[in-house]
């Protein structure tokens, strides 16, 4: 594990980290880069190797059959995945969003069943919050559920959900059809009649990820599939983990950008000397390293706070009370913005070459951009930050 903070992983987690790094160095590093058509679903050869090595869904706790790797360690693991393949990193970590909601707020029976399958089979789940009209205003969610005896009936349309088409189940935010203030998150198994993923969105970056819309038409699920708690807050809780790991993707991308620059500069002559001996280049790289350290710091801090809450006996209630973790939002915003500045500056160092489609730095630019856009764009998060942590003096940092 990198970095000075944290108590350090136990022996089991340390062994897991070794296996994870062996996969990164021995398999992922040599894998071909994904193209626009690539989807890392559970039949993709790379995912099959990841799963066969027992690495998928590594945050799932031991009581559900997972290795229970803390988020603090996960930050470093995601940074290592994203150094080679940010799309693979995103697809691999995103099930934490749905699984943590289920772990905290699902009934014991439902959580055991579905999370146990995820741990055992290395399969995916997906979460559905976004809608076309509601956009970032989740309180305007139009997808509904209604209670009919021992069942729930879900109807509506969702806009974006990564891993949806091959997830074994999804967790959808819906509004009670009979009470517009009552929101719940409902687990819908993939084989439920009336549940239909739409055609895949083609994304500008993060190749390898599969993101889809979905429709729910009279989807009938058991009443026990309704998670407890206010659905809006339950979704906020789920997003804490995925936002921190999304931020951590920036660490890997920034490292890759730095190493591409150093490799280029080692072979590039300027004024009869290697570029690595140029003062302007040196200043740029010094700046990059400082900014890269700041990415690591905000991710570690957020992950430490998350792990401390997670370790509490009343973790589900404690997370529900807080909803959004300020440190998770700060990490995502900081890493998205600073990461973008890092990769943009690096791309300038390549001159016209850095603007060519096939150059790796172009891929890094497109991949980095998602951090400021997905799971709450920066303007949405700025407004949230102002409302919750600035407007009232007692909450200011």
């Amino acid at each position: 594990m990198r970095g000075p903070r944290g108590a350090g992983p136990g022996a089991e987690v340390a062994g897991f980290v070794d296996d994870f790094r062996a996969f990164v160095a021995g398999t992922l590093a040599d894998a071909p880069a994904p193209g626009p058509e690539t989807v890392y679903d559970d039949e993709h050869p790379l995912w099959e190797k990841f799963r066969a090595a027992g690495l998928a869904n590594w945050w799932l706790p031991a009581r559900h059959g997972g290795p229970g790797v803390p988020l603090r360690v996960s930050v470093d693991l995601i940074a290592e995945l994203s150094y080679h393949d940010p799309g693979f990193a995103f697809a691999a970590m995103l099930p934490i969003l749905g699984s943590r909601m289920l772990e905290f707020y699902g009934t014991a029976e439902v959580a055991d069943r579905y999370l146990g399958e995820m741990a055992k089979g290395g399969t995916f789940c997906a979460a559905l919050g976004s809608e076309v009209v509601a956009g970032s205003e989740l309180a305007l969610t139009a997808t509904t559920f209604r209670r009919e005896g021992d069942h729930l009936v879900v109807d509506g349309e969702k806009a974006f959900s990564t891993n949806l088409a091959f997830g074994r189940f999804c967790l959808a935010l819906a509004r009670n059809a009979e009470d517009h203030r009552d929101f719940s998150v409902v687990l819908v198994p993939a084989d439920t009649p009336g549940f239909e993923p739409g055609p895949r969105w083609l994304m500008s970056g993060l190749h390898g990820t599969g993101t889809y819309p979905a429709t729910f038409t009279n989807c009938v699920v058991p009443a026990a599939n309704e998670l407890s708690g206010n659905g809006l807050r339950v979704l906020e809780v789920g997003l804490n983990g995925s936002r921190i790991l999304m931020a951590a993707i920036a660490i890997g991308i920034a490292r890759r950008a730095r190493d591409l620059s150093m490799e280029y500069a080692g072979n590039k002559q300027l004024g009869g000397r290697p570029l690595t001996q140029n003062a302007v280049f040196a200043a740029r790289m010094g700046q990059l390293e400082m900014e890269l350290e700041s990415l690591k710091s905000v991710c570690w801090r957020a992950a430490d706070e998350y792990d401390a809450l997670y370790a509490r006996e009343d973790a589900a209630a404690a997370f529900h009370g807080q909803g959004v973790l300020k440190s998770a939002v700060m990490a995502k915003m900081h890493c998205g913005q600073t990461g973008w500045r890092i990769v943009s500056a690096v791309s300038e160092g390549f001159g016209g070459l850095g603007y060519t489609e096939a150059h790796p730095v172009q891929r890094l630019l497109r991949d980095m951009r998602h951090i400021s856009l997905v799971e709450g764009g920066d303007d949405v998060l700025r407004e949230l930050t102002y409302g919750r942590y600035v407007r009232h003096a007692s909450r200011r940092g």
């Binding site: 206010n230 807050r233 209630a317 909803g323 007692s394």
Partner: protein
Amino acid sequence: MTISSGEIVADLHELSDQLDLDLEEVEVSGASSLENDLGMDSLNLMDFLVFLEKKYRVKISDEHLNDVETISDIVHVLNEISPAAAGPTGDAAA
């Protein structure tokens, strides 16, 4: 039976952890502004309203909320619509 501000204040203190409200250094009274004094955002308010609807077995419409700014305003609305309330006005001074 009239619902008092004191009851609603007690409800708020009971819910403060669940709503992530920091009330330790706030003197909560009927005159307290939900947004400016108690730091409620739309999500806190929604949670609070759902709690009140269940406890007092009422439905608070969006129209009722148009003029709600303080705890007294909430008390007033509850006393207007609650079948349990004996009178039409709340005890804002409690």
